[in-house]
Amino acid sequence: MKFEFDIADGDFAKAGTSSSQVKHILKQLNVDTKIIKKTTVAIYEAEVNVVAHAVGGGKLLADINLERIVVEVADLGPGIADIPQAMVEGFSTASPEVISMGFGAGMGLPNMRKNADKLEIISGVDEGTRVVITNYI
């Protein structure tokens, strides 16, 4: 079953809207609470990245079946130049403005990895970013 949500850029107050919607669906499907928790946290981190970095927002696609949850968060933002470096805890390219709002601590991608059974990041400078989070049920 597939679901699609839009993510608006630049509005941190709205970050969390899509993850909450996916969370609600997972609760309705009676998915194990621990899996819901880690999936929601991973999606939230991806959502915050779109809000913080992407211009023109992004899309969240969730594909759920009895075996796994696959969530793809895609944007047309600046892209990530060096993915291994971005995975290091504390590494951040967030603007001072974003950091002053309590985001951009460089924990986004590491936290995503921690909460995903499988994490794929496809990105290049000026090519946008696609993050695919897979959690097995």
């Binding site: 309705q28 499907l29 009676n30």
Partner: protein
């Protein structure tokens, strides 16, 4: 409906109800539907917050309570009071007067639940120290919040401190005192004067693993009305000796917002009002909130001062209690609440005996326990949502379009109850206008116009 294990205290008086649906609109957990012109409460979704009770213009929702005469089954009849009761009365009324009226009503003992605040505080501190991995900690003080987490946020149950409610601790303490004096167990009756509907439900929900320590609940408004009538009626000299132990300032303030959080170590937040609590828990589930150590979450605005069974304005109650607390503070200076070396045997015993086992989830959002079947329902749900107008008018008898779609897939409603779809079907000759009328009657009842002749031309 599943989850019948929860007992609910809110009852609808069908005689008084005129079928206005204010209750359905305000329910924070979408637990109410309108059928045949009257509210139907989905028990597995209800958390007993009492929003509907407050919203009803006809006072048609009431809170079930024990018959007051139940107390006379026991020879020792203990009234357990939250400080909120004192806050219902002007500060000029001495607490001794309130206690004496309770004794005249038939109680043999009065005891302030606030006396237990330090036991609660110490047990909380110890649990936090030994379970650091469960941060942030959520207090289990408010029974409606506990139900909310069990039904809608089960993944957060791990953060809840599994402790008995304050009144249960007080009942345990007082019963122990009386047993030590040689009073037989079955002659002791402990009754809570409750400001809150959720506590009534919590007491009435049977727990097979546990002996009863609290025998009953009496609604606070009932006690207030009886006591206030007598106080207004006559002046009375008070006996010189105190009728109950004096409550310290923290015990007075415990039932108000920040009553717990103020004494918690580290970073703590106090949040009151059910909508605020739900919003916060949503954020917490996403881990948007970090570095908080302790959360005091209370369902009612102004905490227990805003309990649905209180009679006095909640802001006035808070002000009165703050003044009373200030007087207590001046009278006796408090010791360091975190010291363990000066506690008595009773406190030590209680701290060791008030933790509960695991608190079980009672998920209310699932479409089906079997995930495969839930998936099938979900697909249907998405299709239905795509055709519903999304205006959340409630005329179908469900509080919003999302709820109607869920009700349809769960077999609790028909899609044709949607007024907009009905109009389209009538216009397309797919549904007869008489049939549409019948569907409307099934939701709103036949007597919505009470037989009045309606002439729109007039």
């Amino acid at each position: 409906m599943s989850n019948n294990a929860i007992h609910h205290a809110l009852r609808v008086d069908y005689e008084k109800c005129r079928g206005c649906c204010n209750c359905m609109s305000v329910c924070p957990t979408d637990a109410i539907r309108i059928r045949n012109g009257k509210p139907l409460i989905f028990q597995h979704r209800c958390i007993d917050c009492g929003k509907c009770y407050r919203a009803c213009p006809e006072s048609a929702i009431r809170v079930e309570q024990d018959d007051f005469n139940e107390i006379f089954k026991y020879t020792r009849r203990v009234a357990l009071l939250p400080s909120i009761l004192k806050g219902q009365f002007p500060e000029t009324i001495p607490k001794q007067r309130i206690y004496s009226e309770l004794l005249e009503m038939g109680f043999t003992d009065v005891f302030e639940v606030g006396m237990m605040w330090r036991v609660f505080h110490l047990a909380t501190a110890r649990y936090i120290k030994n379970n650091q991995d469960k941060k942030p900690f959520i207090s289990s003080f408010c029974p409606a919040v506990l139900r909310l987490i069990q039904t809608r946020f089960p993944s957060l149950l791990d953060h809840v401190i599994p402790m008995r409610a304050p009144v249960d601790i007080a009942a345990l303490f007082y019963r122990r005192q009386l047993l030590a004096q040689g009073v037989p167990d079955d002659e002791i009756g402990t009754f809570y004067v409750t400001p809150c509907a959720a506590k009534v439900s919590a007491v009435k929900t049977p727990n097979p693993h546990e002996r009863t320590i609290l025998n009953g609940v009496i609604n606070m408004d009932y006690i207030y009305n009886r006591v206030w009538k007598r106080i207004r009626g006559e002046e009375k000299d008070m006996p010189p000796e105190p009728l109950a132990e004096t409550l310290c300032e923290k015990g007075v303030l415990w039932f108000l917002t920040a009553g717990e959080s103020e004494y918690a170590r580290g970073r703590s937040l106090a949040i009151d009002g059910i909508a605020n609590v739900i919003e916060f828990l949503e954020n917490m589930e996403n881990e948007e909130i970090s570095d908080i150590d302790f959360l005091e979450l209370r369902s009612c605005d102004q905490s227990c001062a805003g309990g649905v069974l209180t009679s006095c304005n909640r802001f006035l109650t808070v002000e009165r209690l703050r003044n009373r607390a200030e007087r207590s503070r001046k009278a006796t200076c408090l010791k360091d609440p975190d010291r363990w070396d000066d506690i008595d045997d009773d406190t030590e015993y209680l701290v060791d005996h008030i933790m509960l086992g695991k608190i079980n989830p009672k998920p209310a959002l699932t479409l089906d326990e079997d995930m495969g079947r839930a998936m099938v329902k979900m697909e249907k749900l998405q299709k239905i949502l795509a055709i519903l107008p999304g205006v959340d008018c409630g005329l179908c008898g469900s509080p919003n379009c999302q709820a109607l779609a869920e009700d349809v897939v769960n077999g609790d409603a028909s899609l044709r109850q949607c007024i907009f779809l009905q109009k389209k079907r009538v216009a397309g000759d797919k549904t007869k206008i008489t049939e549409a009328g019948k569907i409307l009657d099934a939701v709103w009842g036949k007597n919505i116009f009470d037989g009045r002749a309606i002439d729109l031309e007039e």
